[in-house]
């Protein structure tokens, strides 16, 4: 079910996601997604190293990658580690977009989209981590806040997708996106993620 390369674990879901990206967007898009995702994870890893926590492993799956580390770090630092991914994405996107050219712009676009997507406050993303940290810092029940945010955002996406589908005959992108986000978020919450 999985391939181990040192600390990196590639689950079958990652292959499935790669295949899906390849089929929907072609080899160029797949390469762009790989580069953008690598930059994003590198951002997390660099920030994690600064906090002094010890890296246990990286696990790539269908919905993205998980970084496991050992050691307690404060809420503020957790949020910073989470934010470092999208920040790295932005750092990659800006110079590449200035460079121009179809492929550079594609990578920049994927990286920018990935960064924005990761700031959505859904359990499965970095934004969700930041939201949980904020909720905890504010003394709220983080789990409930997360669950509510997931329901509102994913439900909203599916609803908007359905509206688009019926009013303009548009595609299924939004609906698929909402459903995948929802299932992945539920998995994360069910596993009792500590953050």
């Amino acid at each position: 079910m999985e391939l181990k390369l040192g600390r990196l674990t590639v689950r079958a879901g990652a292959a499935l996601m790669a295949a899906a990206v390849f089929v929907l967007g072609g080899a160029e898009l797949a390469a762009a997604v790989f580069i953008a995702a690598a930059a994003h994870e590198a951002g997390h890893l660099a920030a994690l190293r600064l906090t002094g926590a010890r890296l246990v492993g990286i696990e790539a799956g269908f919905g993205g990658a998980r970084i496991r580390y050992r050691g307690r770090i404060g809420l503020r630092r957790q949020a910073a580690v989470a934010a470092a991914g999208p920040a790295a994405g932005a750092l990659l996107a800006l110079p590449l977009a200035r460079l121009g050219g179809a492929f550079a712009c594609t990578v920049a676009g994927v990286s920018a989209a990935l960064s924005v997507y990761n700031l959505l406050p859904v359990s499965v993303t970095d934004g969700g981590v930041i939201l949980r940290c904020l909720a905890e810092a504010a003394g709220l029940a983080a789990e409930r806040v997360s669950a509510a945010a997931d329901a509102v955002l994913c439900g909203g996406l599916v609803l908007a997708g359905t509206l688009v589908l019926f009013t303009t005959g548009g595609g299924l992108t939004l609906i698929l996106f909402g459903v995948v986000l929802w299932t992945e978020s539920c998995k994360i919450r069910a596993h009792g993620v500590i953050c």
Partner: protein, 299 residues
């Protein structure tokens, strides 16, 4: 696309995915996953046209790469952000400007939005027309019929870069692709949002992968890819005639190639701003867009 979690003291709660209770399900999941990957890859690599057609039928004929590139250009400041987002939205959510005509309309050949109800007489509407009145036309009936379809939009005048006239083409020409006209040249009211836009070409619905042949002898000026046109080819002919073929799944020529009437330039697809497989065909004469339907019959 990443989330991460920390472990406090030990890894006792680590991902419960592979628990013993589900051990028997593991080979099955692995098999399903492998099967899906293999099918997808084989389909994409060896049967690209059919894959595009199937995806189109499933409603995901979307150019995600194009959407990403548009966003990238916006980040670089090369394109206005609003415009890029609109393009990305169009590519990603797949609401095309030039295709969503109801199936019934396609069968009739002309969109019902053109059903002419023109109580208003044609007055000064065409006064600003850039083409001299003496421009020779050789099918007055066709021109008159087209003008009738445009009568409801008379108050908007003729767009600066277009003409409703039918210049004589000193060219031997053929039909680029057989199919059903799904969107005609000229003004049309969007069936959904009600906005009126000018369509500078003719959309011909045909199965993805259908061969697209060049309209007449000429030289390929551009073979490119754009957010709205998708994969397209522009060919220069004699006497200032230029033809353009857009939304193709595949382009078979490159800039500078000489082509003879009927040569294959590409295959029908749904790249760029298009829903479903169709050829968007444009014809320009001396820089003005003309109605391709004057010269070509598609079936």
């Amino acid at each position: 696309m990443a989330y991460y979690y920390g472990e406090t003291a030990d890894s006792s709660h680590a991902s419960g995915d592979d628990g013993g209770g589900r051990a028997f399900a593991l080979p099955v999941r692995l098999l399903v996953c492998f099967f899906l990957c293999a099918t997808a890859l084989i389909a994409k690599v060896f049967f690209p046209a059919q894959t595009a057609a199937v995806l189109g039928r499933l409603g995901v004929s979307v150019d995600y790469r194009e959407a990403a590139e548009a966003i990238g250009r916006a980040v670089g400041g090369e394109e206005e952000v609003g415009e890029a987002l609109r393009e990305a939205w169009d590519s990603a959510v797949d609401t095309a400007d030039n295709a969503p005509v109801p199936a019934a309309a396609e069968e009739q050949g002309a969109a019902p939005v053109f059903a002419a109800r023109y109580e208003e007489p044609l007055t000064a509407a065409y006064a600003g027309e850039p083409v001299p009145a003496e421009e020779p036309t050789y099918d007055e009936a066709a021109v008159a019929a087209f003008r009738e379809t445009q009568a409801p939009y008379a108050s908007r005048g003729v767009p600066e870069r277009a003409t409703y006239e039918m210049p004589v083409l000193a060219l031997d020409c053929i039909c680029p692709v057989m199919g059903t006209v799904s969107s005609t040249f000229g003004y049309r009211t969007h069936p959904v949002d009600g906005a009126v836009r000018f369509h500078y070409g003719t959309d011909v619905a045909a199965p993805a992968g259908t061969e697209v042949d060049v309209f007449a002898d000429g030289t390929v000026k551009t073979a490119g890819n754009s957010a709205s046109y998708g994969r397209y080819v522009m060919v220069e002919h004699e006497d200032g005639v230029v033809s353009l073929y857009a939304h193709m799944s595949k382009v078979c020529v490159k800039a500078g190639d000489s082509v003879l009437k009927g040569d294959k330039v590409g295959e029908v697809g749904s790249t760029g701003n298009a829903t479903g497989a169709c050829l968007h065909f444009e014809l320009r004469v001396d820089g003005l867009y003309v109605n391709p339907e004057y010269y070509v019959s598609w079936s």
